[in-house]
Amino acid sequence: MKRRRKVGKNHNTGLSLNVLTEDECNEIHLATLEVMKDVGIFVESDEAIERYDGGGCNVDRETKVVKFPHYVVEDAIQSAPATFYAYGRRPEDDIVLDDNRVTFTNFGEGIEFVDPYTGEHRETRKADIEKAARIIDYSDHIETYERAMCSHDKPPEVQAIHNAEASLTNTVKHHWLGPVNKFQAKKIVKICETIAGGKEQFQKRPMLSFLSSPISPLKMPEHHCDIVMEAAKNHMGLNTVGMALVSGTAPIYLAGTLVLQNCEVLSSLVLDQITRKGSQFVYGSSTCPLDLRRATATVGSPETGMISAAVARLAKYYSLPCFVAGG
């Protein structure tokens, strides 16, 4: 008995949590465009306001509110690459993020942990980051690295720079790192250029992407604007991580939260693409519910998983890579 090869068969790989249909993505997108057009977003940075103005947005310099015509948002979504090249130190460390591909990163910024040697519950320090980066470097299944902890033993004004040094000297994988403000971002770029062997070499293979977050609801603080623009100017990847609190700083309906977060992330995307068209961008989300009894962010809740799955689907709808909380 012979069984020939089947042709034209659709088949499935892996498992997927299909939270949103295409139509539902449309609804979220259209609602987002409406809010961005009519309500707008508060932009603290004057430089960013100028760029938005030059990019076709409607800006009010008095209230610092920027409103977006539909086409400006659509253009930015189009011009951002669908494939993100997460460069490592060597080509064999590079990871390609696109379409349905899934890989892992550790998360950050751990501010406290249980010291594995002494058992003490304490705040994290620079030396802890060095060790964490080594562990991630060794772990095959964690293909990119986020600065794991915070250099609390260094002055607050330069902790991000120390985080960068501790991380970059201990793993060859692509880095996600939050520089916190423009001053530290510029210094970290210098470190990366030195490691890469020059500005040109770094811009060709940027081994570090900046992480930055807007503030919900609908605020782009100055430091966030600065980081978006620095990433674009230096040909680096930008990972804008939304961190809305459902029922706290965002609507209690998850769809409403998705719309609000979408406005904030896409506003960041627009600034990124206006600063340098074609810049690499990742749609990030760490959005979770505010526990209405304990007044705390519940990052480990089921809703966080639902939101993360929805964001992944929404990012695919936009042909953008995404970065979501796995728990």
Partner: protein, 210 residues
């Protein structure tokens, strides 16, 4: 009269503003002092709300509703209260420090403090040291609360305390600070008086400071 106060507290816990206002007016008409109504009717009710919230039996929106109900009823009492009594449990000036726009934590603390009977003046976010100093001079609060979420803006807390010292008003006010990167060690280092790890703790600490 005590039966009336009990009913008032019950309606406050249920968030019925119209009913509470009606009962407050009834109490005043019946000869109770405004201070009495505030303490034994309204604050007594908010006390229960605070306890239930701490025990995880009430939700933030419910607490907000009760606080709003209480402040609605205060409209009747305010013209009858003395200047000092109008401030209830005390006055708190609160704000997020310069360079920082985060406010949800601060807002939750302000809500808890209002619920505990404090008069809260919320300056907002991105508040310069000098503006904190000016607010202390103007409102003469018992407590000044500062919030920060970014490690890079924490140093502004120390700067504000120095500014208060220079202006000669540091001793007039107790200083509380909080926010994700803030720790007890940091509080001790900068010379603040108290640290609240979360909104409920902040409210307790504020009461203890007065």
């Amino acid at each position: 009269m005590s039966e009336l106060f009990e009913k008032m507290a019950k309606e406050l816990i249920a968030g019925n503003e119209a009913e509470v206002k009606k009962l407050a007016q009834e109490a005043i008409d019946g000869g109770a002092t405004a201070r009495d109504v505030l303490d034994n009717g309204l604050l007594a009710g908010m006390d229960v709300v605070g306890k239930r919230f701490k025990a995880g039996e009430m939700f933030i929106p419910e607490v907000l509703l009760c606080a709003r109900t209480m402040h609605g009823a205060m409209d009747i009492l305010k013209p009858l209260l003395s200047e000092g009594d109008r401030a209830g449990a005390g006055t708190v000036v609160i704000g997020t420090v310069e360079g920082d726009l985060h406010d949800i934590g601060k807002n939750l603390v302000a809500m808890m403090l209002q619920g505990a009977g404090f008069k809260v003046i919320d300056l907002g976010t991105n508040i310069k040291s000098q503006d904190f100093v000016d607010a202390v001079k103007e409102h003469k609060p018992q407590v000044l609360g500062m919030s920060a979420l970014l490690t890079t803006t924490m140093p502004k807390m120390e700067e504000t305390i120095e500014a208060l010292k220079e202006a000669g008003v540091r001793d007039q006010v107790k200083i509380m600070a909080g926010g994700a990167p803030v720790t007890q060690d940091f509080i001790d280092k900068i010379g603040a008086d108290a640290y609240g790890a979360n909104a409920a703790a902040a409210s307790e600490k504020a009461k203890a400071l007065i």
